[in-house]
Symmetry: C2
Subunit: 351 residues, 2 copies
């Protein structure tokens, strides 16, 4: 039994086969490789080598009289050892990202679209995940006779508005007092730290207006939870339909379905793609490639998924991903993501 290590000729042949298949999408035969490469070997020799490569699990034959196509293992080897990382120019990246995006959401949506347009695959991007948001600052203001507005600033300078029902109009002086009480006791706390003890203190200090406090705390809770909720934006989902190997069976349908239900997708991505902090993932700038069955998301088992982690500030990460057929242009996708990461880094540092 041969060792699992491939000699350089086998490597060259495998490389040629995969490159050819990525381009054409057709099973590639011995004759093609014989001409296509400068190894100057006859098709017969290639055939022997191909048979070996198949036995070793790097290639697969769709049927007896067809050429070979790469197996997942083959792709894996290609991605790990053979891929040439060229730096990818990304069309319009500069213009798109330089537009002022007041809200991070809008920036993320743009990024997703940019990726989809540039690669012709589907893309997705999550909002960044904070460990747990802390309250930075809260302010109550009169709106009308029966409503107050709570402006809630969370860690990361994110303002949230919550309208609160009130039984009557509050005097400015009362609001001022409440604001001071709330801020002095709640500042820099996250949800877990706001316990009964603290709540009790606030209510005491608030005196007769303690009824309102409950509603204010609810509003804070809501605001924090909302912001903690990871969201996912996708783009180019319909690009998937361009790849016959996916639209043939109902892979494409299932994939589109997953991409459409953002709620579920967010959970999947959060659970499955971000979870493996142990090994290689999670470090900024790193790119992960999931090939076929390696993908932890069921409906993407017939695809490859390439993800990257962006860092918006110390310790606050989000995920970007590109989903395409297994025969995706890995060089390009990885290059594109790397370029994007660099650009995003610059943008976030500036802030």
């Amino acid at each position: 039994m041969e060792s699992d290590k491939l000699d350089s000729r086998k490597m060259a042949i495998l490389n040629a086969i995969i490159r050819n298949y990525l381009e054409t999408g057709e099973p590639v035969g011995s004759r093609t490789i014989s001409k296509f490469t400068d190894l100057s070997l006859s098709s017969a020799t290639i055939r022997n080598e191909m048979a070996d490569l198949e036995e070793l699990g790097y290639l697969v034959q769709p049927h007896t009289s067809a050429g070979r196509i790469p197996s997942d293992k083959g792709y894996r080897l290609y991605v790990d050892k053979m891929m040439e990382e060229k730096v990818e120019e990304v069309n319009n990246m500069k213009e798109v990202l330089d537009q002022k995006a007041d809200r991070i959401e809008n920036l993320l949506k743009k990024v997703a679209k940019l990726l989809a347009v540039n690669t012709n695959y589907a893309s997705m991007i999550t909002t960044p995940k904070y460990r747990s948001r802390k309250l930075k600052f809260i302010q109550l203001t009169n709106v009308d006779d029966s409503h107050l507005l709570a402006i809630i600033f969370l860690e990361g300078n994110i303002p949230k508005n919550k309208v609160i029902d009130a039984d009557h109009r509050y005097e400015e002086s009362v609001l001022l007092k409440l604001n001071i009480v709330l801020n002095s006791l709640l500042q820099d706390l996250d949800l877990e730290e706001i316990n009964m003890n603290i709540i009790q203190k606030i209510k005491e200090q608030a005196g007769e207006d303690s009824a309102l406090i409950g509603r204010v705390l609810d509003a804070i809770g809501e605001a924090i939870r909302e912001e903690d909720n990871i969201e996912v934006y996708t783009s180019g989902a319909t690009n998937i339909l361009n790849y016959p190997e996916l639209s043939g069976d109902d892979s494409a349908r299932r994939l589109l379905y997953t991409l459409e239900d953002k709620q579920e997708l967010a959970e999947l991505v959060d659970d499955k793609l971000s979870n493996e902090n142990g090994d290689n993932s999670g470090k900024r700038g790193d790119i992960q490639v999931y090939i076929g069955n390696e993908t932890p998301i069921d409906s993407m088992k017939n695809c490859s998924v390439v993800t990257a982690t962006y860092e918006i500030e110390e310790g606050v990460y989000g995920k970007v991903g590109i989903i395409g057929p297994k025969r995706m242009d890995y060089d390009k996708v990885v290059g594109t993501l790397k370029t994007l990461m660099t650009q995003l880094d610059e943008i976030f540092k500036k802030k």
Copy 2:
């Protein structure tokens, strides 16, 4: 030449054909109708009638030796004259709509999903369109040494936050003064009414802080424009793939594409579906049915689109739509939309 008016037997036959076709999706033949109805006519007679109906343009024959299917004109007659409007129960509607939805967006998203799940077609819903938003109230607050927060209340009690760059920290008293100036001069104005004249006045009264005023006004402009922007939420787009008559050619692909690009879709819906205020549309509770080519949106020409207009408050409308194959279950869809409209009305009145 016969009159275009159909006698009651022709009506009955056409009705039977359409109903049958809606169910099965297969061209329906004379024999089927002969048995299916209680007209007790032989297939030969039906055949003669069918030939007439075809000549009159209500039916179409895909090919010589096939049964007939309804033409757009046939569907139109069906929708106008034959449809039986049963009141549709909508699954879970109560539960879903009763959940407190603090933001109108969330309610709309839920409605879209509800419709898609209940009908098995695709659904879309726009945010309501205000004529032009007026400013109700603005308040500036210190955030830190180089930023202010502008809380901008628009007509309809919509709070918007804008963070404004500041060169230094402003004294509370200064902010108080600015707030008063801004509110006294800008209250209840829309974008068009905020003209150079007014801007000049504000700057005068603001004195040395007039530099800031420009940025504040920009923020107001942005807030109003953002809120004026119609957005569209969709759901169940992938349901489209369940209908072979659409996924056969690339209708489905084009439709999915349209539904994915919310930006473009919003414009289309706004332009084309809301535009015809002249005739029947736009009145609350009215249902419009666009069959095939009647649809003003290109990528939906092979579909039928059923829309309704909801009213969130006096004069403020939005559109809901259901997109499905031409052989959609019109009775059900119209019924569902009507039920929904009633429910929404209740919700909005409560507010």
